[in-house]
Symmetry: D2
Subunit: 280 residues, 4 copies
């Protein structure tokens, strides 16, 4: 089971997100509290948006907790939109091309969970990917396949529908192969402006997902916390597990839901996979 | 352009093969003399047969010339059938799963060359792989795809025919996508008993391939060379480039040919790809 | 806190030692039960004796649990004297030259523990190392310094005395720098024939150390366990934490003691550091 | 023989320095033209100054030419003072702590060359390092020792004198051990504001060093080159080998000299090591 963090808001030094909170993502990589696997030592990745239109992605197969390059980068790069992910492999090799976040053009994608019985379903799923996108697959994870299915189904135009169709296909292919609960997990994706986070599993018992309370509310409740005075009203964190222990700071995303962090009002809605309209 | 070496014969310390000859494979990894790329620093691998039925494979993404673990292993492991490969990537990521030799059950496979315009052809080639074998593909190289095509076409029963059908398919798919010369390279494969080496390219201008002269002949010509007294009559090396400079030691495999190193008389024959019998 | 295992006895496939027991060293690398640090993901090493006089050493900075090369080597190499170590860094960089076991000529050395306030003491300790040995230090760990101190004090002639003098010096240097309890840990060393294991800490509260019960006794108690019929009478394991849960199999080495596993009768004796005879 | 590049001037994307010129540092890492070793595949490092007072350092043991993280960082980070170094090991292990640039507080340091017979001289040199600095040495290179000697002799106050005393000591220690020409190489160091570059070898036959022509002059000679219109008058590159082939762009630093790139007029002066005043 992996861990991830998505940040959107006032530009911050990345180290503030990864190392500062008491139960930071890096500390979580050594000792998980909620997770299925206790240790997340099978690589990590950080993606961020800066002055370029394309996001940067730094990925490594070393455990995050002792990686010096991660510490250097986190200590020197400031960004207003950051994805970070630490990996516990569910079987696929520990290699950079299997580390999240994945990137396509301006988009980033990361996932905590798995496709059950992936090896049974993999060929059919890969066949459903747009042939023009197929050669861009570089690794061997289920997560990268889900990403490319979502791209195939229009992620860049309508993320919630594209993800619903991707997961609908996975469930359809899974059921036809006798896999009862094919999909499990939480997903985050962004185009550099808005950020979508999904919580869904076929068995309706999904891995955890939390979003941070509106900064305006937190400021009222915790006037003594300086950082809350400094960040913009729209600053938001979405995380696989809560960071720190600030009372009232974290809200669980309900089962089978998705949220949108965007300029203006954020949004939280139910999520239902969309089965293929015609027999596959 | 990669380099490779295949050894079959009296058990030797692997370091005798990799480090001892004057133009050893490790020295070649730094400075190639015949090759297209000058440096082979994008990972390496060694496969060998020992007491177990399955061969061992050690692969690393570090340059071979300074890899201490390779030196340790080579200095302590003795084997009578060894494959060694050093890689210069033609585009696919530098990761262990892209390092040769590849293994399937008792079989090893390595390749020096490429499929031209791989990204155009990749999906069609992967579709032609036996769905039962498909999930075993772990990397993203052309070489691993050729291996799985050959397995699909019966490598374990009749290697020359299986390789002829695999390359025939690659040429067929290539031509249908407008690629004039799809296939380039030399290939070695073994089941732990016999060893097959192929030299072929669609343009009939293939990368080099050499085999060592019969030990009985070499002994007569070079009675002063002690090692020749020690190894068995059937000891044979097949290499992408000659090692050392012993006069009369190396013979070029002719264009569009393959050789078999096996118990009893070795063999050298012409090689012709076999096009798919029905339109693909 | 690291973990380690030392095996002396009938030749076995290394994987039998590392992967087979229920609480194997590899499983322990993910979830420690007795240790100070919960995860040992900062590199590992295996040393073994084979046909060569010098032992082989394979070391890697990747976590042991997912290292494919370790699995390959362990599955193909048989040895009658094996050292294995998994590391949780107490501060020094994660790099191969900081992984145990360390080697000097025919000797191997590994350590679980630390020198407290190493950076305060390091220069004085390094100055006490034989200048002829000094250039052989390649890493930056306390463990390698203790090894070279022991070599300086005659490890190759009389291991218990050399280790007593090395630790005596460390305590002396520590006390002069105001470090109350300079030394902590367990140490294993071997010349390929005998094996010495030490348990000592300045505060007399040392990390754990266990040795396996005499095989003859275990056979009587567990006639149903086949492996016990197969290994020689003199087979012995020394481990930082018990492996498996065979009743009666493990015995704790008492505080401030050392054991010798050797041809003939093994031995267990008290251990006392020997302070430098003259003020340093 | 390593390669290095030091840039001071208008903020640029790091990729403009590393990948853009025709004979860029990355291309040089594969095929050197002037160097002693042909391939620089034993790790690399980049240091840069940004919004923080301390510079960032990114170092890796993979060959630079295929390192994806280097490409990402170089494509997203803009800096006005950049050090980059690619390494060909002269014996010490390939590990991050042996990669340049080295850092101490606000200072960066890199070196192309070697101390001859390092293992003979190492202990005496390390003894001459300020004991307070000694524990900060993390690797095993000659270059890091020279850096810490220079720090010991006042690098932070007067770089030319400190480097003269460091090299003077190395020559003195070397001569006392019978090493005729102890020092070889070029060195760059910076505090984030000024940049010093040294060319010196005991045999007065030093590795090459070049600095770029004054931007005002280059603009007049090449009015068609747009980038020259964009960068500030004070922009300067110092490199171990010329990049690109712009006529008049590169000037060799004379044997036994050093240059200073600083706000205002740059400077070029003779360099003479300063022997220890008292017998060591």
């Amino acid at each position: 089971m992996c861990r991830w963090l998505a940040y959107s808001g006032s530009p911050v030094l990345i180290q503030e997100l990864l190392y500062r909170p008491k139960h930071s993502l890096i500390v979580q990589s050594l000792h998980s509290q909620l997770g299925a696997e206790e240790t997340n030592g099978d690589g990590f990745g950080v993606g961020w948006y800066g002055a370029q239109p394309m996001p940067a992605v730094f990925r490594s197969i070393e455990p995050a907790w002792n990686d010096r390059n991660l510490r250097e980068i986190a200590g020197h790069i400031t960004s207003g939109l950051v994805f970070a992910h630490i990996r516990a492999s569910t079987g696929s090799p520990v290699q950079q091309t299997n580390c999240h976040p994945f990137r396509h053009d301006r988009w980033l994608w990361m996932h905590n969970g798995l496709i059950h019985d992936l090896l049974k379903l993999k060929r059919d799923l890969v066949l459903a990917i747009d042939p023009a996108l197929y050669p861009a697959i570089e690794g061997t994870t289920d997560s990268e396949i889900i990403f490319h299915l979502a791209l195939t189904f229009g992620l860049e135009d309508d993320p919630p529908t594209a993800v619903a169709r991707a997961i609908g296909l996975i469930e359809d292919v899974g059921h036809r192969h006798g896999v009862e609960y094919p999909m499990q997990g939480t997903i985050a994706t962004t185009n550099g402006e808005s950020l979508w986070a999904f919580r869904y599993s076929s068995e309706h018992n999904s891995r955890s997902l939390f979003f941070s309370t509106d900064v305006r509310l937190l400021r009222e409740q915790h006037p003594e916390i300086e950082i809350l005075q400094l960040v913009s009203d729209e600053t938001r964190l979405v995380v696989s597990e809560p960071l720190g222990d600030l009372a009232g700071a974290w809200n669980e995303v309900p089962e089978s839901s998705y949220g949108v962090v965007q300029p203006g009002q954020d949004d939280l809605r139910p999520f239902t996979p969309r089965a293929p309209s015609h027999p596959h």
